[in-house]
């Protein structure tokens, strides 16, 4: 038993001696929400600090953000396609998105935002447009939309980021969904101002009078138009109806 333990220790030391380097990463993320209403922007300010820039460059690392989207909101796939086409944002949406359904009839999805313009030791701002869904009417007021915290993913070809991080398997890039690679889910220092959004919802207490008045107005409009048609002094109508009736009842 002791021998096995010694052997493992030797193996770890051996790999260390061989030069299995790891990258030290210090990441700070501030997550914020821009705009009000049903169409908003999630904004992340990513402040990175990597002491060994040379090692980072050698490692050919890719950086991405991963966000779980709850049923109460969605990322518009077509908007993302447009953004990709004009080179504004590269996003892969994992899951089916129906932009027309209401919250309780929708499903969750996950988005990967590839930070292709990520620059070391500087502040990086990334913006993702999100859209809130209509929610089932209740007793008025506002419905809640929980916001999940963003995950910071790194994939390096040569080395790994120091520390034991959860591995997430995700596409390498948006255009190549089939080539799934392991990403390290890096922990970071986060600052989140908003953890929940609110969305206006209909008030069911309004239901009786809204329905009654709506249908009354619809029927009243019909009666008004018919009354104009039948009561108008314009001769052409009188002749028309006179003519039509005679044709039918002659």
């Amino acid at each position: 038993m002791l021998d096995i333990f010694k052997f493992l220790l030797l193996l770890i030391n051996f790999s260390f001696i061989l030069g299995e380097k790891c990258i030290n990463l210090d990441i700070n993320i501030i997550q914020n929400i821009e705009k009000q209403g049903f169409h908003r922007n999630m904004v992340w300010l990513i402040d990175s600090h990597i002491p060994d820039e040379k090692l980072w460059t050698e490692a050919s690392c890719k950086v991405a953000l991963m966000l779980d989207i709850p049923v109460e909101m969605y990322v518009d796939p077509d908007q993302m396609n447009d953004f990709h086409r004009i080179g504004k944002l590269e996003v892969f949406i994992d899951g089916k998105v129906n932009i027309e359904t209401v919250a309780h009839q929708s499903t969750t999805h996950r988005v990967f935002i590839y930070l292709n313009k990520f620059i070391l030791n500087s502040k990086h701002i990334e913006t993702l447009p999100i859209h809130l869904r209509y929610q089932k009417s209740h007793l008025g007021g506002y419905g809640k939309v929980p916001l999940s915290k963003v995950n910071f993913l790194v994939n390096c070809v040569e080395h790994k980021v120091c520390g034991n991080y959860q591995e997430i398997r995700a596409p390498k890039k948006r255009q190549d969904v089939d080539s799934v690679i392991p990403w390290q889910n890096i922990t970071y220092k986060g600052h989140f101002d908003v953890l929940e959004l609110s969305v206006p919802i209909g008030n069911l207490e309004h239901y009786p009078f809204v329905v009654i008045i709506t249908y009354l107005v619809g029927c009243a409009g019909c009666i008004y138009i018919l009354s104009i048609l039948t009561n108008t002094k314009n001769k052409i109508y009188n002749f028309s109806i006179y003519f039509s009736l005679k044709l039918i009842f002659i």
């Binding site: 705009k35 009000q36 209403g37 049903f38 169409h39 796939p77 077509d78 396609n81 447009d82 998105v97 129906n98 932009i99 027309e100 209401v102 309780h104 209509y134 089932k136 009417s137 008025g140 007021g141 506002y142 609110s198 969305v199 206006p200 919802i201 209909g202 008030n203 069911l204 309004h206 239901y207 809204v210 329905v211 008045i213 709506t214 249908y215 107005v217 619809g218 029927c219 409009g221 019909c222 008004y224 138009i225 018919l226 104009i228 048609l229 108008t232 314009n234 001769k235 052409i236 109508y237 002749f239 028309s240 109806i241 006179y242 003519f243 039509s244 005679k246 044709l247 002659i250």
Partner: protein, 458 residues
């Protein structure tokens, strides 16, 4: 006013150049705006069409594009958007606008000619002949310089195309008297957008053997009736289930030709696309529009009631049934009544179509700005038959803009500021609906009056 008159009097080509310039400027502005603004100028549907065309090029179904609920024709038409340039479709819509404008001009001119042909008093004829050109020109300009039409086309919305197909059908039916072609076009219109189906009965009544050119003289009507009665006496009566049915209920050759044309184009297009895109095509482009319930706020009178009742559990035979009846019966009654009321009169076809479009739009379960283009396209065809003072037109337009504006404010607060303004939007939807009903009432009250006044004053 003199300057305005001189502008109106400019020849057709000059107006087309002006209108094209305005549209070209707006298309270029759209490109610039989309590049720098978060709120795009280009209509969302234009992107949908272009994406659908992209899918077609890739050998996929256009219905793979979310929210593509149109005929595949539009995605085929806009393939150059992907192959050549994205603004191709906008240019195409704008050129189609000019064609429609010219058709409006011709149709109004021919309508007035028909009116003059059957109008009994010669002195009135002379006055109207002078105005014939002027009315045709005014009608054309009303379409050509209508800000809504210009904006819709340059934003890349296809509704002016749908409206243009209806106008083309009216033109072929009234000016060319080619019933088969008119049928083909009507079928195409229905395939392109389902709503023109509501005009079918009016078209059939227009083609009836019993349709007439009305002179406001009761004796003429009676004389015509006597002639019809004589004809009818010689026709064998057909008995069905104990009821006597007269032969006039049996379609004439024109009606049959029209229906054949309509069925032919509609079914050929539908079957062809069904062959390629299967049930998804049927569902997305046809069935969806019947089962559609949009809970998101829109101009419709019914939007809030629909949203509140959307997920309630009702007794299906009591509440759901009455909801459907109360929602659908009023517009159905008016549409049928309008068809029968005006149908047989040869002068009122355009006006019937206008009134039916207004009724269909204002009672629709989903109503957005683009639907108003369906109305805007038909209005120019009827202006020569409407008697409105500048003051009353201005007042009606002002009321309409105010009603829209007061709806837009709470809608903006809801959508972009996140304020709970559902109830205010509902109140404004009712106000907008009432405004539309009042405007329709005014149109009905002022129709043809001009001709009668002319006649009385002679």
């Amino acid at each position: 006013m003199l300057l305005l008159d001189r502008f109106i009097d400019l020849d057709v080509i000059t107006h087309f150049i002006f209108a094209s310039l305005i549209r070209a400027i707006l298309i270029v502005y759209g490109i610039w705006h989309d590049k720098y603004s978060d709120v795009p100028y280009t209509d969302i549907d234009y992107k949908v069409f272009t994406d659908a065309s992209r899918y077609i090029i890739d050998g996929k179904s256009p219905y793979d594009r979310h929210t593509f609920r149109y005929s595949p024709l539009i995605s085929f038409l806009l393939i150059p958007n992907v192959v050549i340039h994205e603004i191709f479709g906008k240019i195409f819509f704008c050129i189609f606008d000019l064609v429609v404008a010219y058709l409006i001009r011709c149709l109004v001119y021919i309508n007035i000619s028909h009116w003059l042909k059957y109008y009994s008093k010669d002195d009135v004829k002379i006055n109207l002949q002078k105005e014939q050109n002027l009315w045709a020109q005014r009608a054309m300009l009303l379409w050509l310089y209508n800000p809504m039409v210009v904006t819709i086309s340059t934003r890349g919305n296809s509704d002016s195309l749908a409206c243009g197909l209806v106008i083309l059908t009216l033109y072929v039916l009234q000016a060319k008297r080619s019933y088969f072609c008119a049928g083909l076009l009507h079928g195409l219109s229905i395939h392109f957008r389902i709503y023109p189906i509501i005009y079918t009965m009016s078209f059939l009544l227009y083609l009836s053997n019993f349709s007439y050119y009305l002179d406001c003289d009761k004796n003429v009507v009676d004389l015509t009736l006597r002639q019809k009665r004589e004809t009818r006496k010689s026709i064998q009566r057909i008995s069905f289930l104990g009821q006597k049915l007269f032969l006039y209920l049996i379609p004439n050759s024109h009606q049959i030709i029209f229906v054949l044309g309509m069925l032919m184009s509609w079914s050929v297009l539908t079957l062809t696309f069904y062959f390629f895109y299967e049930f998804r095509f049927l569902y997305e482009s046809i069935l969806y529009h019947f089962v559609r319930t949009d809970f998101k706020h829109n101009f419709s009178l019914y939007f809030y009631a629909q949203y509140l009742s959307a997920w309630m559990k009702f007794d299906i035979w009591s509440v759901v049934f009455w909801h459907a009846i109360l929602k659908n019966l009023p517009p159905l009654i008016i549409l049928l009544y309008l068809s029968v009321y005006f149908g047989l009169n040869q002068y009122t076809l355009n006006f019937t179509i206008l009134c039916q479009t207004i009724v269909f739009v204002i009672y629709n379960k989903v109503l957005t700005s683009q639907y108003f283009v369906w109305i805007m396209g038909i209005v120019p065809l009827c202006i020569w038959q409407l008697k409105f003072s500048v003051k009353s037109i201005s007042l009606l337009v002002l009321i309409w803009i105010l009603a829209q504006g007061t709806w837009l404010l709470p809608a903006y607060l809801l959508e972009f500021e996140g304020k709970n303004t559902f109830i205010y939007i509902w109140v404004q939807s009712i106000s907008l609906f009432c405004t539309h009903v009042i405007i329709l009432g005014h149109l009905l009250q002022n129709f043809i009056l001009k001709m009668q006044i002319n006649k009385k004053t002679q």
